[in-house]
């Protein structure tokens, strides 16, 4: 995908957003609907101008598959979402070292012991700072 193609997709999404803003504002009291509608109009105008400008600007590939490993980025994002989803049930102390260890392996194969020490050390340090020093409760085991 190129930046131009991406801009067209972004433009379509912005137009949908503008329409949703306008329709969504119909139930607001008069004072509350002015600003959303004004923004909706501005979005439509700016999107139209952007799409016109898009035709004349230099195009670039948005993703360089030869140089970069986007599958690793995707794996990192998915693993992080899984970690976030289970955090409320399994808790921070148990799930974080496992998440960190897996993520470090996803990033690069290498010394197991370095990764173990880094993941356990980070979990302990973050827990100590937030839970003890700052009194911010972190998600705990909930079974």
């Amino acid at each position: 995908m190129t930046t131009k193609q991406g801009s067209v997709i972004a433009g379509i999404l912005l137009l949908v957003l503008a329409i949703a803003l306008w329709i969504g504002s119909s139930s607001f009291p008069p004072g509350s609907m002015v600003f959303p509608r004004a923004i909706a109009v501005v979005i439509v105008i700016l999107t139209a101008l952007m799409l016109v400008e898009n035709a004349s600007i230099k195009d670039f590939p948005a993703f360089d598959w030869q140089r970069f490993n986007y599958f690793r980025t995707l794996r990192a994002a998915v693993l992080t979402c899984i970690y976030m989803a289970q955090l409320a049930y399994v808790g921070f102390l148990l799930s974080t070292p496992i998440y960190l260890l897996i993520m470090m392996y996803v990033m690069e194969k290498g010394s197991f012991w370095t990764k173990i020490v880094a993941s356990l050390g980070t979990t302990g340090a973050v827990y100590f700072v937030f839970a003890y020093l700052l009194n911010v409760p972190l998600p705990a085991w909930d079974f």
Binding site: A10, F35, L46, Y70, P139
Partner: protein, 503 residues
């Protein structure tokens, strides 16, 4: 004067001082790590300040900010990679000095120049800001509305060659700012039936998503190994003759940095390049710049830290953030229940002067670290990315969770991380989203309050001289950005035509 002394008394309390030292150290480490910017550092560590008293939290942010800008020079000098964009100009002579075996000397001059620049700008902040705030005390809703618009107009300048995309990003921020209960009449807007959105979209998770998660997602694309640096530094303290040789560059850099920092939409990176250019032009050894001269390190480093205090002047006095870091500062102030602007000086002078004292002390602290602990600090450039990246993910998650102890905020953070990552791919700047999100609600509510005051008469915006002046400045700012963009495009077209003609 009494207030300034009171600020120092607050900052020098052992607990506050310890937090400031920790913040400055954290800032230096983040700044020194290539790929982690000052913006990301401040965004990532802001959640640590929530559970602290306002003064302590804000003083810590000052430490992170000043430390990160200085820390950027460490990797610029040692591994030829600027830790932050503000240290990009330091690479030219900093790394050349390292290749000559003078890394210690370069790091020493960098610490001293950064300190001088930072101290000068912090003093300017301390003495100029209260005068400006006094003028701004007469502001009411129309002036605040105009100031908000002026802040938003900065979007046009910070969007580089993609002004329209920047404005659209700002609109996205404005849309996010509308979510939640309307402050004027209590109507619920775009909450999608979720109680989590009644108070609006949480600002910090959006910020962490856009500036930290998006950045680490980009880092995962490539896990190139950084060269391992043998950190063997000696002769960090410069001689008196070397200091004398750099004095002019440092003085000019400090002034340039502070002035550039005050101008919204500029920042440490621009200040550093201007200062480097000026030092090169006015130095008798100008032709040696780039081959490893100490002045070439002193000039950009004094300027980029000079911009830190300057950037806080419009924020503290008028409530207008000039860039992403000051936008985060604004968010942190608002989360502590404080609204930057002239009233802050009147109602919370103790906090304001503690921040000023914190800025001054942060510079002293990083100077001490830079001169006496650099051997140990420099080792952070060797931290492997595959270990660091997952740790940053965890910090992002914990930081977002810490604000409201709410899982919903984590999903907001991740959503905006992905949005920020994709927007950057398609050349949409992300900083305007933050400006829109912060300034949008202010612009809307002040606009509506103004109309309530004038009973619906729009002339209130152009019959009040200060409001009119600020609105004119706003218009000028947008036009100037547009003209600048056209000029840049024309130059690029002419350059391309020249290349085509030559081939």
């Amino acid at each position: 004067m009494e207030l300034i002394l009171q600020g120092f008394v607050t900052v020098l309390q052992p607990g506050v001082l310890a937090i400031l030292i920790a913040g400055t150290l954290g800032g230096i480490v983040i700044g020194a790590l290539p790929g982690l910017t000052a913006t990301m550092g401040v965004a990532l560590l802001t959640p640590l300040t929530f559970s602290m008293p306002a003064t302590t939290g804000l003083v810590m942010l000052c430490g992170i900010y000043c430390g990160a800008i200085y820390g950027g020079s460490i990797s610029a000098i040692l591994i030829n990679t600027p830790g932050t964009p503000a240290a990009a100009a330091t690479v030219f002579d900093g790394y050349a000095l390292t290749k000559k075996g003078l890394a210690g000397k370069a790091l020493g001059i960098s610490a001293i120049a950064s300190f001088c620049g930072g101290l000068f700008s912090a003093l300017c902040l301390t003495f100029i800001a209260p005068q400006l705030a006094r003028v701004a005390l007469s502001f009411t809703s129309p002036e605040y509305f105009a100031m908000g618009l002026l802040g938003l107009s900065i979007v046009a300048s910070i969007s580089g060659e993609y002004v329209l995309r920047g404005l659209l990003s700002a609109c996205l921020g404005l849309v996010l700012g509308m979510v939640g209960i309307d402050a004027i009449n209590g109507a619920m807007r775009y909450t999608l039936g979720s109680v989590n959105l009644l108070n609006g979209v949480s600002f910090i998770p959006v910020l962490i998503g856009l500036f930290a998660v998006a950045e680490v997602l980009r880092t995962t694309e490539s896990m190139l190994k950084s060269p391992h640096v043998e950190v063997n530094l000696s002769g960090v303290l410069p001689t008196l003759a070397e200091l004398r040789g750099c004095a002019r560059a440092i003085l000019k850099g400090s002034a340039i940095g502070t002035l550039v920092g005050i101008v919204p939409a500029t920042g440490g990176d621009i200040a550093a390049f201007i200062s480097y250019g000026e030092a090169k032009r006015s130095s008798k050894d100008g032709d040696k710049f780039g081959t490893g001269v100490l002045e070439g390190v002193a000039a950009p480093e004094s300027a980029n830290n000079g911009a830190t205090g300057g950037a806080l002047i419009p924020l503290m006095t008028l409530g207008i953030p000039g860039d992403a870091v000051t936008a985060i500062f604004l968010g942190a102030l608002m989360l502590q229940g404080l609204r930057p602007g002239p009233m802050l000086f009147k109602d919370h002078a103790d906090i304001v002067y503690a921040v000023f004292a914190g800025m001054i002390m942060a510079n002293v602290i990083f100077l001490l670290f830079g001169l006496f602990a650099i051997k140990y600090l420099a080792r952070v450039v060797n931290v492997p990315k595959p270990i660091l990246t997952p740790i940053i993910f965890v910090l992002c998650i914990v930081g977002s969770y810490a604000i409201n102890n709410n899982m919903f905020d984590l999903w907001i953070m991740m959503l905006f991380g992905v949005i920020g990552y994709l927007l950057e791919k398609f050349r949409f700047p992300v900083s305007p989203i933050v400006l829109g999100l912060i300034l949008g609600p202010m612009v809307e509510s002040e606009f509506r309050r103004s109309l309530l005051l004038s009973q619906g008469d729009y002339s209130i915006f152009y019959t009040r001289p200060i409001a009119m002046l600020i609105l004119t400045l706003t218009l000028f700012s947008v036009i100037a950005a547009y003209v600048q963009q056209r000029r840049r495009k024309n130059s690029a077209r002419l350059a391309q035509a020249g290349i085509d003609g030559a081939s």
